[in-house]
């Protein structure tokens, strides 16, 4: 980890449940290099993270769907983690996690590791432009992480 870059394919990465009923379509899309957010088919409201009902119009899960977003945004806030109890991450410290407001709609914010490259963490700034990078962290698991850039 001497250059600050994040490795692919770590055996003990805390992977998500790809079959989780609320998130399965999201993970299926990331494996195809597409980034989705939740969209209500009744009123069109987009939402992240996804929920079991639409808070805007009250419709139930059956009418909730998905919309693709561009995968670019800006850092809204971030943390540099020096202590982690999670498997794999306890060895990866320090690493940076950013909350990114999406260009498609700044009200949509998505959390993710920030691959900060060779720069030290203090060069991460609020407002910094980033784009998504789907990182293959385990068999079939493509995690949306973020890299500096337009």
């Amino acid at each position: 980890m001497t250059d600050g870059r994040l490795p692919d394919e770590q055996g003990d990465w805390p992977v998500p449940d790809l079959a989780d009923t609320e998130l399965a379509p999201f993970w299926a899309a990331t494996a195809q290099g597409r980034l989705l957010v939740q969209r209500c088919e009744a009123c069109g409201a987009r939402r992240w993270p996804p929920r079991a009902a639409c808070a805007a119009c009250g419709v139930q899960p059956a009418r909730l769907g998905w919309a693709e977003v561009s995968g670019t945004g800006r850092v809204y806030t971030w943390t540099e983690v020096h202590r982690s109890p999670l498997p794999h991450f306890r060895l990866l410290v320090p690493y940076t996690v950013a909350l990114v407001e999406l260009h498609d709609d700044p009200r949509l914010r998505m959390l993710g590791l920030l691959d900060r490259g060779p720069q030290p963490g203090d060069l991460v700034t609020v407002g910094m432009p980033v784009r998504v990078h789907f990182r293959n962290v385990a068999a079939g698991v493509y995690l949306p992480t973020w890299q500096p850039g337009q």
């Binding site: 998130l23 540099e80 983690v81 998505m110």
Partner: protein, 386 residues
């Protein structure tokens, strides 16, 4: 009970010693703290007919079994993380108002340091498990220090809150702990240089921005005013108590406004119910899980304007002798992490006027906040009960 007005009183508070290693079970800690509170109130164990236990603490069944309390007819557990201690008072008040109980014990006990510590405990207690395990753990985010550091960073960006202002909170809590022999960090002063040199945990948070993890128990006894008159101590009235939740309480990341917390709603409800304003408060017990959360809650509760928490603390306002002394006992940062039940106990003792060298002179109105999970909030306002 209408609109947060409780009509109930606190007649006893008690605790064990606060330590890094209690050497005994959590049930024993709960029993000892309950016995201490009963002694304080001058009540026998069998007077307790209601038990509200903090999430993860020994349950009503545990205490009934240990002490033999066949008369217990009300039990409950709030689910607001660290805001649960103050929220316990609301459950107690509701039970008393409904006639479901006459003496309710609000119980916290935990081997929070020598047993399961926060990072491994939290996963079982938080809302939104699918969001934690699906979207946060895979990205390396899993602890309160990490979540709340995102709030702190954004606050610094929006308002210019500084590292030194966070340090002021750490130093103030530690200074207060020097006046409290029960405090875990009694006898250990802290300088700004030591604070600034402490190792990073989740930047902006350094180790000394984070509260203690503690073994211990703390119990608060709540009853009706007519019953309170027979007790050993002067009753302290719960003038009002309320809880509140941000939208959304199961997730920090998508919240708009981002810095909204449940305390914003809880404090507004509590002050309205009590017919008081923030300026009427003589002493504040703020749930200081991390330094920034003190600044944040001072704003959210209305003690200062949004964005002014840092300058407010740096002005000396939160120190004993300042305009709003905060946590004379040293708080979670200096006395110990008893889930904020120790904040309720300190508020009771401040209103009774029995706090010795850390007493806020003439304190009659104490406000206690709770902060928990991903931003749930609670507030109680305590005043003399006679």
């Amino acid at each position: 009970m209408t609109d947060g007005v409780t009509g109930c009183v606190i007649v006893g508070v008690g605790e064990t010693e606060y330590s890094r290693r209690s050497g005994r079970s959590e049930i024993r800690l709960a029993v000892e703290a309950l016995r201490a509170a009963l002694t304080d109130a001058g009540l026998p164990p069998r007077a307790v007919d209601g038990i509200v236990s903090y999430p993860g603490s020994p349950r009503a069944e545990d205490l009934i079994g240990a002490l033999g309390l066949p008369g217990v007819r009300f039990s409950a557990t709030p689910q607001l993380g660290g805001a649960s201690s103050v929220a316990s008072l609301q459950l107690a008040a509701a039970a008393l108002a409904a006639g479901s109980a006459t003496v309710v014990a609000c119980v916290f006990a935990r081997n929070g340091n020598s047993g399961k510590r926060i990072a491994t405990r939290i996963d079982q207690l938080l809302p939104g498990g699918y969001l934690r395990r699906g979207l946060e753990h895979p990205q390396g985010l899993s602890t309160p220090a990490q979540w709340y550091s995102l709030l702190c960073r954004r606050h610094m960006h929006e308002y210019g809150t500084t590292r030194e202002q966070l340090g002021t909170v750490a130093l103030t809590m530690r200074r207060h702990a020097q006046l409290n022999p029960r405090a875990q960090l009694h006898g250990r002063e802290l300088t700004m240089a030591e604070y600034l040199a402490s190792p990073p945990v989740a930047l902006p948070y350094l180790l000394l921005d984070c509260c203690l993890e503690t073994d211990g128990g703390c119990v608060v006894l709540v009853t009706r005013p007519d019953r309170g008159r027979d007790c050993r101590q002067p009753p302290v009235a719960v003038a009002a108590v309320a809880e509140g939740h941000p939208d959304s309480p199961d997730d920090i990341t998508g919240r708009t406004p981002f810095l909204e917390t449940g305390l914003r709603y809880a404090a507004a409800r509590a002050f309205a119910a009590a017919g008081l304003r923030p300026a009427d408060v003589d002493v504040a017990l703020i749930y200081d899980c991390f330094t920034f959360e003190v600044l944040h809650q001072l704003e959210e509760a209305g003690f200062c304007a949004p964005g002014e928490g840092g300058p407010f603390a740096a002005s000396g306002a939160i120190t004993l002798g300042g305009s709003l002394p905060v946590n004379p006992h040293g708080g979670l940062l200096g006395e110990g992490h008893l889930g904020g039940m120790n904040h309720v106990a300190e508020a009771v003792r401040q209103v009774r006027g029995e706090c010795g060298q850390r007493q806020v002179p003439g304190a009659r109105v104490a406000a206690v906040t709770g902060w928990g999970d991903l931003g749930d909030g609670s507030m109680a306002i305590l005043v003399p009960g006679d």
